[in-house]
Protein backbone atom coordinates (compact mmCIF):
# COMPACT_ATOMS: atom_id res chain seq x y z
CA UNK A 1 0.00 0.00 0.00
CA UNK A 2 1.14 3.46 -0.82
CA UNK A 3 1.64 5.80 2.09
CA UNK A 4 1.65 8.90 -0.06
CA UNK A 5 -1.77 9.95 -1.25
CA UNK A 6 -4.26 12.72 -1.88
CA UNK A 7 -7.69 12.49 -0.37
CA UNK A 8 -10.55 14.19 -2.17
CA UNK A 9 -12.52 16.47 0.16
CA UNK A 10 -14.44 18.04 -2.77
CA UNK A 11 -14.10 16.60 -6.28
CA UNK A 12 -14.96 19.66 -8.36
CA UNK A 13 -17.16 19.64 -11.43
CA UNK A 14 -15.24 17.54 -13.93
CA UNK A 15 -11.98 16.32 -12.45
CA UNK A 16 -10.11 13.60 -14.33
CA UNK A 17 -6.64 12.16 -14.86
CA UNK A 18 -5.24 13.14 -18.23
CA UNK A 19 -2.02 12.68 -20.13
CA UNK A 20 -0.96 12.86 -23.78
CA UNK A 21 -4.00 10.79 -24.91
CA UNK A 22 -4.28 7.59 -26.96
CA UNK A 23 -3.83 7.28 -30.72
CA UNK A 24 -4.48 4.63 -33.37
CA UNK A 25 -8.00 3.83 -32.13
CA UNK A 26 -10.39 6.02 -34.14
CA UNK A 27 -11.27 3.05 -36.36
CA UNK A 28 -12.57 1.27 -33.26
CA UNK A 29 -14.55 4.30 -32.12
CA UNK A 30 -12.24 5.54 -29.39
CA UNK A 31 -11.27 9.23 -29.47
CA UNK A 32 -7.87 10.72 -28.70
CA UNK A 33 -8.79 12.23 -25.31
CA UNK A 34 -5.78 13.56 -23.34
CA UNK A 35 -5.31 16.96 -21.74
CA UNK A 36 -7.52 19.52 -23.47
CA UNK A 37 -4.97 22.33 -23.26
CA UNK A 38 -1.76 20.58 -24.22
CA UNK A 39 0.62 23.48 -23.53
CA UNK A 40 -0.58 23.97 -19.97
CA UNK A 41 -0.39 20.21 -19.41
CA UNK A 42 3.27 20.10 -20.47
CA UNK A 43 4.22 23.15 -18.39
CA UNK A 44 2.57 21.66 -15.28
CA UNK A 45 4.72 18.55 -15.56
CA UNK A 46 7.91 20.51 -16.21
CA UNK A 47 7.33 22.69 -13.12
CA UNK A 48 7.45 19.63 -10.84
CA UNK A 49 10.37 17.92 -12.61
CA UNK A 50 8.21 15.19 -14.14
CA UNK A 51 8.54 13.50 -17.49
CA UNK A 52 6.47 15.61 -19.86
CA UNK A 53 4.04 12.77 -20.61
CA UNK A 54 3.16 12.09 -16.95
CA UNK A 55 -0.42 11.97 -15.70
CA UNK A 56 -1.89 15.16 -14.23
CA UNK A 57 -5.23 16.07 -12.68
CA UNK A 58 -7.35 18.12 -15.07
CA UNK A 59 -10.25 20.14 -13.70
CA UNK A 60 -12.88 22.38 -15.26
CA UNK A 61 -14.44 25.53 -13.72
CA UNK A 62 -14.49 24.50 -10.06
CA UNK A 63 -11.51 22.33 -9.15
CA UNK A 64 -10.98 19.79 -6.38
CA UNK A 65 -10.17 20.35 -2.70
CA UNK A 66 -7.48 17.85 -1.75
CA UNK A 67 -5.69 16.83 1.43
CA UNK A 68 -2.22 15.36 1.15
CA UNK A 69 -0.72 12.65 3.34
CA UNK A 70 2.85 11.48 3.02
CA UNK A 71 6.39 12.66 2.58
CA UNK A 72 7.26 16.04 1.05
CA UNK A 73 6.33 16.50 -2.57
CA UNK A 74 6.17 19.38 -5.07
CA UNK A 75 3.01 20.50 -6.78
CA UNK A 76 2.14 23.07 -9.44
CA UNK A 77 -1.00 24.40 -11.05
CA UNK A 78 -1.24 25.82 -14.56
CA UNK A 79 -3.96 27.67 -16.41
CA UNK A 80 -5.73 30.72 -15.07
CA UNK A 81 -6.73 29.37 -11.70
CA UNK A 82 -7.62 30.70 -8.25
CA UNK A 83 -6.40 28.36 -5.51
CA UNK A 84 -5.00 28.26 -2.02
CA UNK A 85 -2.60 26.03 -0.14
CA UNK A 86 -3.38 25.46 3.51
CA UNK A 87 -0.48 24.53 5.77
CA UNK A 88 -0.45 23.84 9.51
CA UNK A 89 -0.74 27.45 10.65
CA UNK A 90 -1.12 29.45 7.44
CA UNK A 91 -3.11 29.56 4.27
CA UNK A 92 -1.50 31.10 1.23
CA UNK A 93 -3.03 32.20 -2.03
CA UNK A 94 -1.31 30.20 -4.75
CA UNK A 95 0.17 31.44 -8.00
CA UNK A 96 -0.09 29.47 -11.19
CA UNK A 97 3.15 28.58 -12.98
CA UNK A 98 5.04 28.21 -9.71
CA UNK A 99 5.80 25.02 -7.83
CA UNK A 100 5.19 24.61 -4.10
CA UNK A 101 6.37 22.01 -1.68
CA UNK A 102 3.61 20.42 0.36
CA UNK A 103 3.86 18.01 3.28
CA UNK A 104 1.75 15.70 5.39
CA UNK A 105 -1.62 17.32 6.28
CA UNK A 106 -1.42 20.18 3.77
CA UNK A 107 -4.47 20.98 1.64
CA UNK A 108 -4.78 22.26 -1.91
CA UNK A 109 -8.06 24.02 -2.55
CA UNK A 110 -8.69 24.80 -6.20
CA UNK A 111 -11.51 27.30 -6.08
CA UNK A 112 -12.09 28.00 -9.76
CA UNK A 113 -10.68 28.76 -13.14
CA UNK A 114 -10.82 32.43 -13.99
CA UNK A 115 -12.62 33.35 -17.25
CA UNK A 116 -11.35 30.07 -18.68
CA UNK A 117 -12.28 26.41 -18.49
CA UNK A 118 -9.43 24.00 -17.78
CA UNK A 119 -6.62 23.94 -15.26
CA UNK A 120 -3.96 21.36 -14.41
CA UNK A 121 -2.52 20.09 -11.15
CA UNK A 122 0.74 18.19 -11.38
CA UNK A 123 2.48 16.47 -8.48
CA UNK A 124 6.21 15.78 -8.54
CA UNK A 125 5.96 12.02 -8.84
CA UNK A 126 3.85 9.33 -10.38
CA UNK A 127 0.17 8.72 -9.69
CA UNK A 128 -0.75 5.08 -9.26
CA UNK A 129 -3.15 4.91 -12.20
CA UNK A 130 -4.28 2.30 -14.66
CA UNK A 131 -3.29 2.64 -18.29
CA UNK A 132 -5.45 1.57 -21.20
CA UNK A 133 -3.88 1.73 -24.63
CA UNK A 134 -0.82 3.45 -23.16
CA UNK A 135 -2.80 6.28 -21.64
CA UNK A 136 -4.45 6.91 -18.29
CA UNK A 137 -6.72 9.60 -19.76
CA UNK A 138 -10.25 9.24 -18.45
CA UNK A 139 -13.00 9.15 -21.06
CA UNK A 140 -16.18 9.36 -18.99
CA UNK A 141 -18.50 8.62 -21.95
CA UNK A 142 -16.94 5.26 -22.83
CA UNK A 143 -15.61 4.61 -19.30
CA UNK A 144 -12.10 4.11 -20.59
CA UNK A 145 -8.87 4.90 -18.75
CA UNK A 146 -7.89 5.13 -15.12
CA UNK A 147 -10.40 5.27 -12.23
CA UNK A 148 -12.66 2.92 -14.27
CA UNK A 149 -13.15 5.74 -16.73
CA UNK A 150 -15.08 7.81 -14.20
CA UNK A 151 -14.64 11.32 -12.82
CA UNK A 152 -12.78 11.59 -9.51
CA UNK A 153 -15.20 11.52 -6.61
CA UNK A 154 -15.47 12.70 -3.02
CA UNK A 155 -13.69 10.60 -0.39
CA UNK A 156 -11.50 8.85 -2.93
CA UNK A 157 -7.79 8.36 -2.26
CA UNK A 158 -5.32 9.00 -5.05
CA UNK A 159 -2.14 7.06 -4.42
CA UNK A 160 1.31 8.02 -5.59
CA UNK A 161 3.63 5.20 -6.48
CA UNK A 162 6.75 7.34 -6.73
CA UNK A 163 7.94 10.74 -5.51
CA UNK A 164 10.60 12.62 -7.49
CA UNK A 165 13.92 13.00 -5.70
CA UNK A 166 14.46 16.28 -7.56
CA UNK A 167 12.52 18.75 -5.44
CA UNK A 168 13.85 21.98 -6.99
CA UNK A 169 11.27 24.74 -6.91
CA UNK A 170 10.48 26.11 -10.38
CA UNK A 171 8.72 29.15 -11.72
CA UNK A 172 7.91 30.63 -15.09
CA UNK A 173 6.43 33.96 -16.12
CA UNK A 174 4.10 32.52 -18.73
CA UNK A 175 0.78 34.28 -19.12
CA UNK A 176 -2.13 32.65 -20.93
CA UNK A 177 -3.05 34.77 -23.87
CA UNK A 178 -6.70 34.99 -24.73
CA UNK A 179 -7.91 35.40 -28.27
CA UNK A 180 -11.21 36.26 -29.84
CA UNK A 181 -10.42 35.22 -33.37
CA UNK A 182 -10.18 31.50 -33.92
CA UNK A 183 -8.42 30.65 -37.14
CA UNK A 184 -10.09 28.01 -39.29
CA UNK A 185 -9.44 26.13 -42.49
CA UNK A 186 -12.31 25.65 -44.92
CA UNK A 187 -14.19 22.39 -44.30
CA UNK A 188 -14.92 19.63 -46.79
CA UNK A 189 -18.62 20.63 -47.02
CA UNK A 190 -18.09 24.40 -47.11
CA UNK A 191 -20.11 24.62 -50.32
CA UNK A 192 -23.18 23.10 -48.67
CA UNK A 193 -23.89 26.51 -47.15
CA UNK A 194 -25.57 29.53 -48.69
CA UNK A 195 -23.52 32.59 -49.63
CA UNK A 196 -25.19 34.38 -46.74
CA UNK A 197 -24.34 31.42 -44.44
CA UNK A 198 -20.66 31.49 -45.43
CA UNK A 199 -20.58 35.25 -44.78
CA UNK A 200 -22.18 34.81 -41.37
CA UNK A 201 -19.62 32.12 -40.50
CA UNK A 202 -16.65 34.42 -41.09
CA UNK A 203 -18.09 37.79 -40.18
CA UNK A 204 -20.49 37.37 -37.28
CA UNK A 205 -19.85 36.68 -33.64
CA UNK A 206 -20.87 33.41 -31.98
CA UNK A 207 -21.34 32.74 -28.28
CA UNK A 208 -20.03 29.63 -26.52
CA UNK A 209 -23.04 27.74 -25.12
CA UNK A 210 -23.33 26.14 -21.68
CA UNK A 211 -23.81 22.80 -23.45
CA UNK A 212 -20.07 22.40 -23.94
CA UNK A 213 -17.86 19.70 -22.49
CA UNK A 214 -14.81 17.60 -23.34
CA UNK A 215 -16.69 16.12 -26.32
CA UNK A 216 -17.75 19.29 -28.02
CA UNK A 217 -18.36 23.00 -27.88
CA UNK A 218 -21.76 24.20 -29.01
CA UNK A 219 -22.11 27.73 -30.35
CA UNK A 220 -25.09 30.03 -30.53
CA UNK A 221 -25.58 32.94 -32.85
CA UNK A 222 -26.96 33.74 -36.27
CA UNK A 223 -28.07 30.54 -38.05
CA UNK A 224 -25.94 29.18 -40.86
CA UNK A 225 -28.21 28.16 -43.71
CA UNK A 226 -27.57 24.88 -45.55
CA UNK A 227 -28.69 24.77 -49.19
CA UNK A 228 -27.56 21.26 -50.19
CA UNK A 229 -28.25 18.66 -47.49
CA UNK A 230 -28.27 18.85 -43.71
CA UNK A 231 -26.93 15.29 -43.48
CA UNK A 232 -23.97 13.61 -45.12
CA UNK A 233 -23.14 9.90 -45.16
CA UNK A 234 -21.47 9.34 -41.80
CA UNK A 235 -17.70 9.73 -41.96
CA UNK A 236 -14.70 10.26 -39.69
CA UNK A 237 -14.15 13.27 -37.50
CA UNK A 238 -11.09 14.83 -35.92
CA UNK A 239 -10.83 17.32 -33.10
CA UNK A 240 -11.44 20.88 -34.22
CA UNK A 241 -13.99 19.96 -36.92
CA UNK A 242 -16.90 22.42 -36.98
CA UNK A 243 -20.14 20.62 -37.90
CA UNK A 244 -23.38 22.44 -38.64
CA UNK A 245 -26.51 20.34 -38.03
CA UNK A 246 -29.95 21.17 -39.39
CA UNK A 247 -30.65 23.79 -36.71
CA UNK A 248 -27.83 25.97 -38.11
CA UNK A 249 -25.83 26.19 -34.86
CA UNK A 250 -22.18 25.10 -35.17
CA UNK A 251 -20.68 22.41 -32.93
CA UNK A 252 -16.89 22.13 -32.59
CA UNK A 253 -15.51 18.64 -31.94
CA UNK A 254 -13.21 18.52 -28.92
CA UNK A 255 -10.84 15.86 -27.55
CA UNK A 256 -13.47 13.25 -26.47
CA UNK A 257 -15.56 13.61 -29.65
CA UNK A 258 -17.55 10.82 -31.32
CA UNK A 259 -15.31 9.35 -34.00
CA UNK A 260 -17.96 9.40 -36.74
CA UNK A 261 -20.47 12.07 -37.63
CA UNK A 262 -23.09 12.81 -40.23
CA UNK A 263 -23.37 16.59 -40.23
CA UNK A 264 -21.73 18.80 -42.85
CA UNK A 265 -18.32 20.21 -41.95
CA UNK A 266 -18.07 23.96 -42.57
CA UNK A 267 -14.53 24.35 -41.19
CA UNK A 268 -11.76 22.96 -39.02
CA UNK A 269 -10.01 24.92 -36.26
CA UNK A 270 -6.31 25.39 -37.02
CA UNK A 271 -4.13 23.34 -34.65
CA UNK A 272 -2.33 26.51 -33.52
CA UNK A 273 -5.53 27.80 -31.87
CA UNK A 274 -6.82 24.58 -30.27
CA UNK A 275 -5.31 25.11 -26.78
CA UNK A 276 -6.85 28.57 -26.62
CA UNK A 277 -10.18 27.52 -28.11
CA UNK A 278 -10.85 24.94 -25.38
CA UNK A 279 -10.29 27.59 -22.72
CA UNK A 280 -13.20 29.74 -23.95
CA UNK A 281 -15.89 29.52 -21.30
CA UNK A 282 -19.66 29.65 -21.85
CA UNK A 283 -20.72 33.17 -22.76
CA UNK A 284 -17.40 34.00 -24.49
CA UNK A 285 -17.59 35.49 -27.98
CA UNK A 286 -15.90 33.74 -30.89
CA UNK A 287 -15.16 35.04 -34.37
CA UNK A 288 -13.75 32.77 -37.06
CA UNK A 289 -11.01 33.89 -39.39
CA UNK A 290 -10.10 31.92 -42.49
CA UNK A 291 -6.51 30.88 -43.12
CA UNK A 292 -5.03 28.55 -45.70
CA UNK A 293 -3.28 25.24 -45.07
CA UNK A 294 0.27 26.47 -45.51
CA UNK A 295 -0.24 29.42 -43.13
CA UNK A 296 -1.83 27.05 -40.62
CA UNK A 297 1.19 24.74 -40.83
CA UNK A 298 3.65 27.60 -40.38
CA UNK A 299 1.71 29.11 -37.47
CA UNK A 300 1.62 25.74 -35.73
CA UNK A 301 5.38 25.33 -36.17
CA UNK A 302 5.92 28.71 -34.52
CA UNK A 303 3.50 27.84 -31.70
CA UNK A 304 5.30 24.56 -31.12
CA UNK A 305 8.70 26.33 -31.06
CA UNK A 306 7.31 28.78 -28.53
CA UNK A 307 6.06 25.87 -26.38
CA UNK A 308 9.48 24.14 -26.53
CA UNK A 309 11.15 27.43 -25.69
CA UNK A 310 8.89 27.97 -22.68
CA UNK A 311 9.61 24.43 -21.46
CA UNK A 312 13.35 24.78 -21.89
CA UNK A 313 13.36 27.89 -19.68
CA UNK A 314 11.77 26.05 -16.76
Amino acid sequence: MSSNYLEIIRPGINTTFQDKGRGHLYHIGIPFSGAMDNRNYLIANKLVNNNLDSAVIEFAYQGPHLKYSGEKINCAITGDVIFSIKKKDTEIEGNCYESYQIENGDEINIISTNKSVYGYLALGGEFDVKFQWNSCSINTKANIGSNDGKKLDVGQKINLKKINSNKDIKKTNYINTKIENIRVIKGTNFDYFSEEGKKIFYEKEFTVSKLSDRMGMRLEGPKIDNIVNTNIKSEGLIKGVIQVPADGNPIIMLSDHGTIGGYPKIGVVASVDYDRLVQMSPGSKIKFKEINLSDAETLFKLYEMETQNLLSQI
Binding site: W133, T188, K233
Partner: protein, 224 residues
Amino acid sequence: MIKNISNLGDAALYCDFGNEVNKSINSQVIKYFKTIKEKKFEGINNLTPSYNKLIISYDLKKTNFKEVKNYVENINAQDSKDINSKKLEIPVCCHENFSMDIKRLEEILKLSREKILENFLNKEYFCYMTGFIAGMPFLGDLDENMRAQRLETPRVKVPKGSVALTEQFANIYTFESPGGWNILGNTPLDVFDSSKEDKPNLINPGDTVVFKEITLDQYKNYNE
Protein backbone atom coordinates in the same frame (compact mmCIF):
# COMPACT_ATOMS: atom_id res chain seq x y z
CA MET B 1 -9.60 3.64 -55.78
CA ILE B 2 -9.20 7.03 -54.15
CA LYS B 3 -10.91 9.62 -56.34
CA ASN B 4 -9.59 12.66 -54.55
CA ILE B 5 -7.37 13.57 -51.61
CA SER B 6 -7.84 16.86 -49.83
CA ASN B 7 -7.03 18.24 -46.40
CA LEU B 8 -9.38 18.15 -43.43
CA GLY B 9 -7.94 20.99 -41.39
CA ASP B 10 -4.15 21.08 -41.03
CA ALA B 11 -3.68 17.67 -39.42
CA ALA B 12 -5.69 15.20 -41.48
CA LEU B 13 -6.05 13.79 -44.99
CA TYR B 14 -9.54 13.37 -46.45
CA CYS B 15 -9.52 10.47 -48.92
CA ASP B 16 -12.69 10.39 -51.00
CA PHE B 17 -13.64 7.08 -52.63
CA GLY B 18 -16.97 8.29 -54.05
CA ASN B 19 -20.46 9.15 -52.89
CA GLU B 20 -22.34 5.87 -53.11
CA VAL B 21 -22.65 3.47 -50.21
CA ASN B 22 -21.91 -0.07 -51.35
CA LYS B 23 -19.73 -3.02 -50.49
CA SER B 24 -17.32 -2.60 -53.36
CA ILE B 25 -16.42 1.03 -52.53
CA ASN B 26 -16.29 0.22 -48.82
CA SER B 27 -13.98 -2.76 -49.46
CA GLN B 28 -11.57 -0.39 -51.20
CA VAL B 29 -11.66 1.93 -48.18
CA ILE B 30 -10.96 -1.00 -45.85
CA LYS B 31 -8.15 -2.25 -48.06
CA TYR B 32 -6.38 1.13 -47.87
CA PHE B 33 -7.10 1.35 -44.15
CA LYS B 34 -5.51 -2.05 -43.47
CA THR B 35 -2.50 -1.44 -45.71
CA ILE B 36 -1.68 1.94 -44.16
CA LYS B 37 -2.26 0.63 -40.65
CA GLU B 38 0.18 -2.23 -41.18
CA LYS B 39 2.89 0.02 -42.60
CA LYS B 40 2.97 2.29 -39.53
CA PHE B 41 4.01 5.51 -41.29
CA GLU B 42 5.80 7.79 -38.81
CA GLY B 43 3.48 10.57 -37.67
CA ILE B 44 0.15 9.01 -38.64
CA ASN B 45 -2.04 8.95 -35.51
CA ASN B 46 -5.39 7.65 -36.57
CA LEU B 47 -7.25 6.13 -39.48
CA THR B 48 -11.03 6.34 -39.72
CA PRO B 49 -12.59 4.26 -42.48
CA SER B 50 -16.27 4.90 -43.19
CA TYR B 51 -18.68 3.97 -46.01
CA ASN B 52 -16.77 5.76 -48.73
CA LYS B 53 -14.15 7.96 -47.05
CA LEU B 54 -10.89 7.35 -45.20
CA ILE B 55 -9.66 10.04 -42.86
CA ILE B 56 -6.01 9.90 -41.86
CA SER B 57 -4.98 12.18 -39.04
CA TYR B 58 -1.37 12.88 -38.24
CA ASP B 59 0.85 14.60 -35.72
CA LEU B 60 1.72 17.99 -37.18
CA LYS B 61 4.90 18.01 -35.09
CA LYS B 62 6.19 15.01 -37.05
CA THR B 63 4.84 15.32 -40.57
CA ASN B 64 2.53 17.40 -42.76
CA PHE B 65 -0.15 17.23 -45.44
CA LYS B 66 2.26 17.09 -48.37
CA GLU B 67 4.29 14.20 -46.94
CA VAL B 68 1.30 12.08 -45.95
CA LYS B 69 -0.51 12.77 -49.24
CA ASN B 70 2.55 11.76 -51.21
CA TYR B 71 2.86 8.60 -49.14
CA VAL B 72 -0.79 7.61 -49.60
CA GLU B 73 -0.73 8.33 -53.35
CA ASN B 74 2.15 5.93 -53.82
CA ILE B 75 0.79 3.09 -51.75
CA ASN B 76 -0.12 -0.09 -53.52
CA ALA B 77 -3.19 -1.15 -51.57
CA GLN B 78 -3.34 -4.34 -53.64
CA ASP B 79 -0.22 -5.53 -51.86
CA SER B 80 -1.98 -5.68 -48.55
CA LYS B 81 -2.74 -9.07 -47.08
CA ASP B 82 -6.23 -10.13 -48.00
CA ILE B 83 -8.93 -8.70 -45.80
CA ASN B 84 -9.01 -10.85 -42.70
CA SER B 85 -12.73 -10.94 -42.30
CA LYS B 86 -14.79 -13.13 -39.99
CA LYS B 87 -18.34 -14.40 -40.15
CA LEU B 88 -20.19 -13.93 -36.87
CA GLU B 89 -23.52 -15.00 -35.41
CA ILE B 90 -25.07 -12.50 -33.03
CA PRO B 91 -27.85 -13.73 -30.74
CA VAL B 92 -30.66 -11.22 -30.45
CA CYS B 93 -33.76 -11.28 -28.27
CA CYS B 94 -36.71 -9.40 -29.76
CA HIS B 95 -39.03 -9.87 -26.77
CA GLU B 96 -41.23 -6.85 -26.06
CA ASN B 97 -38.99 -6.03 -23.08
CA PHE B 98 -36.37 -5.00 -25.64
CA SER B 99 -38.06 -4.12 -28.94
CA MET B 100 -39.01 -0.59 -27.89
CA ASP B 101 -39.72 0.63 -31.40
CA ILE B 102 -41.53 -2.38 -32.87
CA LYS B 103 -44.88 -0.52 -32.97
CA ARG B 104 -43.26 2.42 -34.69
CA LEU B 105 -41.57 0.12 -37.21
CA GLU B 106 -44.84 -1.72 -37.88
CA GLU B 107 -46.48 1.61 -38.71
CA ILE B 108 -43.67 3.05 -40.82
CA LEU B 109 -42.86 -0.15 -42.72
CA LYS B 110 -46.47 -1.31 -42.92
CA LEU B 111 -45.34 -4.80 -41.96
CA SER B 112 -46.31 -7.12 -39.12
CA ARG B 113 -43.90 -7.89 -36.29
CA GLU B 114 -43.42 -11.42 -37.66
CA LYS B 115 -42.63 -10.13 -41.13
CA ILE B 116 -40.17 -7.54 -39.78
CA LEU B 117 -38.30 -10.23 -37.84
CA GLU B 118 -38.36 -12.60 -40.78
CA ASN B 119 -36.88 -9.89 -43.02
CA PHE B 120 -34.23 -8.98 -40.49
CA LEU B 121 -33.06 -12.27 -38.97
CA ASN B 122 -30.84 -14.99 -40.51
CA LYS B 123 -29.46 -12.73 -43.24
CA GLU B 124 -25.88 -11.71 -43.86
CA TYR B 125 -24.94 -8.12 -43.15
CA PHE B 126 -21.62 -6.52 -43.96
CA CYS B 127 -19.78 -4.35 -41.41
CA TYR B 128 -18.97 -1.08 -43.18
CA MET B 129 -17.35 0.63 -40.20
CA THR B 130 -17.20 0.85 -36.43
CA GLY B 131 -17.37 3.98 -34.37
CA PHE B 132 -19.37 6.97 -33.23
CA ILE B 133 -19.23 5.27 -29.83
CA ALA B 134 -16.54 2.68 -29.16
CA GLY B 135 -17.10 -0.57 -31.05
CA MET B 136 -20.50 0.29 -32.57
CA PRO B 137 -20.77 -1.61 -35.88
CA PHE B 138 -22.59 -0.14 -38.89
CA LEU B 139 -24.09 -3.14 -40.68
CA GLY B 140 -25.82 -3.27 -44.04
CA ASP B 141 -27.73 -3.50 -46.17
CA LEU B 142 -31.23 -4.06 -44.85
CA ASP B 143 -33.92 -5.12 -47.32
CA GLU B 144 -35.52 -2.26 -49.24
CA ASN B 145 -38.81 -2.66 -47.35
CA MET B 146 -37.05 -2.43 -43.95
CA ARG B 147 -35.78 1.13 -44.16
CA ALA B 148 -37.03 3.62 -41.57
CA GLN B 149 -35.83 7.07 -40.65
CA ARG B 150 -34.33 7.69 -37.23
CA LEU B 151 -36.53 8.94 -34.37
CA GLU B 152 -37.43 12.61 -34.55
CA THR B 153 -36.30 13.08 -30.98
CA PRO B 154 -33.40 10.81 -30.07
CA ARG B 155 -33.53 8.90 -26.78
CA VAL B 156 -31.32 10.25 -24.01
CA LYS B 157 -30.44 6.68 -23.01
CA VAL B 158 -30.42 3.68 -25.28
CA PRO B 159 -29.73 0.48 -23.30
CA LYS B 160 -26.48 -1.40 -23.80
CA GLY B 161 -26.81 -4.21 -26.33
CA SER B 162 -29.71 -2.64 -28.24
CA VAL B 163 -29.94 -3.78 -31.85
CA ALA B 164 -31.40 -0.93 -33.87
CA LEU B 165 -32.22 0.08 -37.44
CA THR B 166 -32.05 3.25 -39.53
CA GLU B 167 -32.19 3.57 -43.31
CA GLN B 168 -30.30 0.64 -44.84
CA PHE B 169 -28.28 -0.04 -41.70
CA ALA B 170 -28.43 -1.95 -38.43
CA ASN B 171 -26.19 -1.24 -35.45
CA ILE B 172 -25.55 -2.39 -31.90
CA TYR B 173 -25.22 0.03 -28.98
CA THR B 174 -22.05 -1.21 -27.27
CA PHE B 175 -22.81 0.69 -24.08
CA GLU B 176 -25.60 2.91 -22.81
CA SER B 177 -25.58 6.06 -24.87
CA PRO B 178 -27.91 8.65 -26.37
CA GLY B 179 -29.23 7.59 -29.76
CA GLY B 180 -32.01 7.90 -32.30
CA TRP B 181 -32.14 4.52 -34.07
CA ASN B 182 -35.24 2.27 -34.07
CA ILE B 183 -34.70 -0.40 -31.43
CA LEU B 184 -35.71 -3.92 -32.47
CA GLY B 185 -34.04 -6.15 -29.88
CA ASN B 186 -31.09 -6.70 -27.59
CA THR B 187 -28.03 -8.92 -27.62
CA PRO B 188 -26.50 -10.38 -24.44
CA LEU B 189 -23.05 -10.36 -26.09
CA ASP B 190 -20.37 -7.86 -25.12
CA VAL B 191 -19.72 -6.27 -28.48
CA PHE B 192 -17.10 -3.92 -27.03
CA ASP B 193 -14.78 -4.86 -24.17
CA SER B 194 -12.19 -2.27 -23.19
CA SER B 195 -10.31 -4.78 -21.03
CA LYS B 196 -9.23 -6.59 -24.21
CA GLU B 197 -6.77 -4.02 -25.45
CA ASP B 198 -5.62 -5.97 -28.48
CA LYS B 199 -9.14 -6.86 -29.63
CA PRO B 200 -11.78 -4.69 -27.95
CA ASN B 201 -14.27 -4.97 -30.84
CA LEU B 202 -16.17 -8.16 -31.49
CA ILE B 203 -17.14 -6.94 -34.97
CA ASN B 204 -14.70 -5.20 -37.29
CA PRO B 205 -15.00 -3.51 -40.70
CA GLY B 206 -15.18 -6.19 -43.41
CA ASP B 207 -16.79 -8.81 -41.14
CA THR B 208 -20.12 -10.47 -41.93
CA VAL B 209 -22.83 -10.66 -39.28
CA VAL B 210 -25.97 -12.81 -39.04
CA PHE B 211 -28.57 -12.13 -36.34
CA LYS B 212 -30.06 -15.30 -34.76
CA GLU B 213 -33.13 -15.00 -32.58
CA ILE B 214 -33.07 -16.22 -28.97
CA THR B 215 -35.89 -16.38 -26.42
CA LEU B 216 -36.10 -14.31 -23.27
CA ASP B 217 -35.07 -17.36 -21.20
CA GLN B 218 -32.07 -17.99 -23.41
CA TYR B 219 -31.19 -14.29 -23.12
CA LYS B 220 -31.37 -14.40 -19.31
CA ASN B 221 -29.23 -17.53 -19.11
CA TYR B 222 -26.79 -16.44 -21.78
CA ASN B 223 -24.00 -15.19 -19.55
CA GLU B 224 -24.30 -17.91 -16.93
